[in-house]
Assembly symmetry: C2
């Protein structure tokens, strides 16, 4: 792949080595554990974080390990040898085969796909071990929704139920506040049957193309953990296959539940193959981008035939969901004329341009049923695109945006008639007080199909910090019921994100998604907060770092001012120093309550108070003047 | 000051030079403008950002400059020579003098203050031009609330009215969404009389010690722009006077409306003097920290006398507001015994320790009226401390927290009897769905006194990113009615923030405050968003950067992938490249609507549609296939 970078072979090799280390390094105190399902080939990965004991002076108890959801795949399994050239293990192979409803194809169905295979110019960047693709047998429908509606609980559904339960041990601190989930269903125990019901009803989707057997199955739905997506992909102005694969594994390491490959530059087909073969998470694309590349960027030269071939090409590679802007109708386009920032969606603007050039209705809309026929043959899910989302605060919640949303509602219904899985894309730029209206309307017109928003950004004035402007909106809309949040990096509006930007975007969106889970009262969500706060209170610094979303950064920030290992048990940090640390001081208060009746029963007479105070004063001094003491 | 740093004199000198450049550099395209009030010595600073013309092909219109609120003081006024050794100009001197209700004191009233003045060990770190302090004449009350209740509109109030109006020109795009402000009053035009009413009612405060004449007056209240505070200050483990003054000017440069000096380390008194003399914004402190230093860190050795002397010492230096934990009552302390993280407030834990050691009621509570007598003699405002705020999600909204809040309500009433200005501090760590309850209770029990919260953080699991976990909560509680948001930096829970952390915290909190203003529908708030988005849509890259909260970062992020000057007029960036830029494509759509009847009236018959489509198709091709065209 040397010709695609500017580095010398020696430098490239050194960088690969460093990347490989970064990507496979096990997070601190973490073990990959697998929870087995009803059959030996259902092995659900979790990350188990081990904790140290509470210091003796503070109680000395053992602290049970905490299990967290793990998207990093076998990259963080020391038992598995990674070879990007060969791709990941085929987790789902047996499950797909035993359903016996698919054929293995000897040749690719897409003419473009066939051309690329024979093109000697791309020979040395091609993934070497491409499998023959599968397709549904004639008359068969292979979507998870189809199986769910037939009453089948697939292995994927069972895997997901185990995964969503996050299997904590009994000893962990499961306390949490009752949430406010606006009518969602957040069950204490998620069963495979519940998963089936949600998928059958269309309230959740399992993006799982039969040609992507490498994925560790996951679910997107309001009644499950809020998920996040990370976007990667090259552009004409940057990046290589190497870098994109590296971004993908980096993103899943830090917590991306799905990845979208939004490449618009060179070798989109080959880049995608490498990504899919090595991705443990579902991959989404926007097929119109590649279709546009095929017509050299001239939107009006797009045709249904080219687009159809692109869908098949990508489906046979294994793309798990397609963003399709079938809601950008000709009649909505003029509604954007008075907008401040017009149409900001790439796909939306491409389709708008096509509509005007041909003065015909959007071909994605007019050929929608044929698209469904393709999707159901591979189990590709729809992500119905919000081509008319608002690109600035002023344009929020306007006619164009909501008109499109209503059309997406109509299309959801049509897709479900084909048992094709659907999620709905959402905004954008929306001020806080106008966010809930989006959620309420989407639930109503799309009949609770999962919502998948980009933020929204709650102000326009901070390019360079749009991961933050949008985290505010994303957390809120996740709380209100959005199922997946598409991340925004600090580079939004400015340029293509690099690895640091990708990580910043992911950690920020893990924060937003988790804040939403807490507010919804999702059972078990507060376990990690409780464990980390206890570690903080007890000055178990390493435990605090290890439980955090980004242990490396937490540790290095602490070490900037207190680097020595001895400081990791220090009962203070450089913020306040030893005299002023409130945590240190308040370790002592507990004795006061332990040595008297419970605080709630504490309602003494004045004399009792006086007497009690005197004896407590004496006891306090006798006990060495500690506020909290071990019982 | 060399002995307080580790740098050699030469390196220190070089760093000072660089710091001075950083601190006084004018932001790009910006001019300091002063708006005069009803008298020549009322000169209200704003920053005016000049914009370039829209490109000819897109309309060629002039874009009026945008005025933004400016906290950076004369540091960014090229007409004013800065000398940190001399301090800032005395903006308010005449206004204080002409009220003729104060005496100039020949000696400091505080015995500690007198000792420090004579201590030769601190001679070379002492600010050289300390003014003689003022104090109210006997029987006089010099608070802005007192003046307001008497019906007086002070020059400070007029200054503030002008400042809050942000005096945009008529030509700017003033469009904005109607907000949802939960019953606040967001007026289109803020008059000095309105300011007076708000201060008289206690709904707003003007922190303005008569001994801090250098400040550019500002207001904190629900019916005004949401404000932010930045914390600086050394600890026993770090920082020097130099660094702290530098952080203060750095913080005000980036938008801090007030600064709290939370020093707990060496030379607290001298450090504070340098900061106040050079600060254009109000300064807050937590006097109990210095009082604790005076008793060598032994909380139970604190006495009312030591604390009283500290209040006077700090008031005579010019501190504008004191955080006082008078709500940490003995009976609330046991309610924290079952908490996960006890008492996380430094001041709160110090007072809790004192209460238990003495088994007496908190002396800040028992001596509250005497504290008021001191405050009203200098016009120091209360920031009634939330010593029992929750330090983790699990502890949110518990009995201890709300018990203290109710007591703060009682104390608000008592302070108002003295006409002492009051704001109320708030949490902490609170999941999103439990935030509004805090605001509603505070409005009720504190009779609409301004609320001043620390975040809140909406999850505990991301040390290293707590500026983000808390920005979510801060934006929401600002929307609900909180008047000032205390920033949180990435270093929260980990160590003392450096300059980069301070900036990250400030930009993040400017985002939260502005998102709140937009959601409240604060008149004029959306001007900046509109101007920036228009610049973005028209590829006026420099304008987009210059309008943003952090032009330096926006520009450098863009330049990472497209550095050349020619790219600053490029109609794309590296995110998508020239072919795929949606902004570029959709510049053409406007012609479609311009050349036909308005979109709303567009309701043709099928034949009309066919005919229209044919002629539009022809027109589109004739016009060079552009989606939007100039009218």
């Amino acid at each position: 792949m040397n010709q695609l970078t500017n580095l010398s072979p020696a430098d490239l090799s050194a960088q690969h080595e460093q990347d490989a280390k970064d990507l496979t390094r096990i997070l601190p105190a973490s073990t990959k554990v697998y929870i087995q399902g009803s059959r030996p080939d259902i092995q659900v990965p979790m990350r188990q974080i081990a904790l140290t004991d509470t210091p003796t002076g503070l109680g000395g108890e053992k602290n049970p390990p905490v299990m967290v959801y793990d998207t990093s795949g076998v990259y963080t399994d020391p038992e598995v040898a990674i070879d990007l050239n060969k791709g990941l293990p085929h987790v789902r192979q047996a499950w797909i085969e035993e359903r016996q409803d698919t054929d293995v194809l000897d040749t690719l169905s897409s003419s473009f796909g066939q051309e690329r295979l024979k093109d000697i110019r791309t020979a040395d960047i091609r993934f070497a071990h491409i499998q023959k693709p599968r397709r549904a047998k004639t008359g068969q429908n292979v979507t998870q929704m189809h199986y769910a509606k037939k009453g089948m609980i697939t292995p994927e559904m069972e895997y997901i139920a185990i995964r969503e339960n996050q299997r904590q041990r009994d000893e962990v601190d499961m306390r949490q506040h009752a949430g406010q989930n606006f009518g969602a269903k957040n069950l204490t125990e998620i069963t495979p049957e519940f998963v089936r019901q949600e998928v059958a009803a269309g309230r959740a989707i399992i993006p799982a193309n039969i040609n992507h057997p490498e994925i560790e199955p996951m679910i997107i739905g309001r009644n499950f953990l809020v998920k996040i997506n990370a976007n990667i992909g090259n552009s004409a102005l940057g990046s290589s296959i190497d870098e994109e694969v590296s971004k993908m594994t980096w993103a899943t390491r830090w917590g991306a539940d799905t990845i979208m490959d939004l490449s618009t530059g060179k070798n989109i087909h080959e880049t995608r193959e490498w990504i899919i073969r090595n991705s443990p998470v579902p991959i989404g694309t926007v097929p119109i981008y590649q279709a546009l590349e095929k017509v050299d960027g001239v939107a009006e030269d797009l045709t249904w035939e080219i687009f159809k071939d692109t869908l098949i090409e990508q489906a046979e590679q294994g793309v798990d969901y397609f963003t399709i802007h079938a809601g950008v109708l000709l009649r909505y386009v003029p509604l954007t004329a008075n907008r401040l920032t017009g149409i900001v969606s790439r796909g939306g603007s491409i389709m708008a341009q096509w509509c005007l050039a041909h003065h015909e209705e959007n071909f994605l809309y007019t050929h929608f049923d044929e698209i469904c026929e393709i999707m159901k043959a591979y189990d590709v899910s729809f992500s119905l695109g919000d081509g008319l989302r608002p690109g600035c605060i002023q344009d929020a919640n306007d006619e164009a945006q909501f008109g499109e949303l209503r059309t997406l509602g109509e299309l959801t219904h049509r897709a479900w008639e084909h048992d094709v899985q659907v999620m709905i894309e959402g905004p954008g730029h929306v001020p806080m007080h106008m966010i809930k209206e989006n959620m309420d309307l989407q639930l109503e017109v799309c009949k609770e199909a999962p919502f998948y928003t980009l933020g929204p950004l709650t102000t326009d004035i901070a390019p360079g910090y749009d991961h933050i402007t949008s985290a505010i909106g994303a957390a809120m809309i996740g709380w209100y019921g959005t199922a997946m949040l598409c991340y925004v990096t600090p580079k939004e509006h400015l340029g293509l994100p690099n690895k640091k930007d990708v990580k910043d975007g992911i950690i920020t969106y893990k924060i937003a998604a988790h804040a939403a889970d807490l507010a919804k009262g999702h059972p078990g969500a507060q376990v990690r907060d409780n464990a980390l706060s206890k570690a903080r209170f007890e000055f178990r610094w390493d435990d605090q770092f290890n439980l955090s979303l980004d242990p490396d950064t937490a540790r290095s920030m602490h070490d900037e001012t207190l680097p020595k290992e001895a400081h990791k048990s220090a009962h203070f940090c450089s913020m306040c120093g030893p005299k002023f640390c409130s945590m240190k001081i308040t370790q002592n208060v507990r004795n006061y309550a332990q040595n008297q009746e419970t605080a709630k029963d504490f309602n003494p007479s004045t004399e009792e108070v006086e007497q009690g105070l005197k004896s407590m004063k004496q006891a306090y001094h006798d006990n060495g003047q500690k506020l909290y003491q071990k019982v």
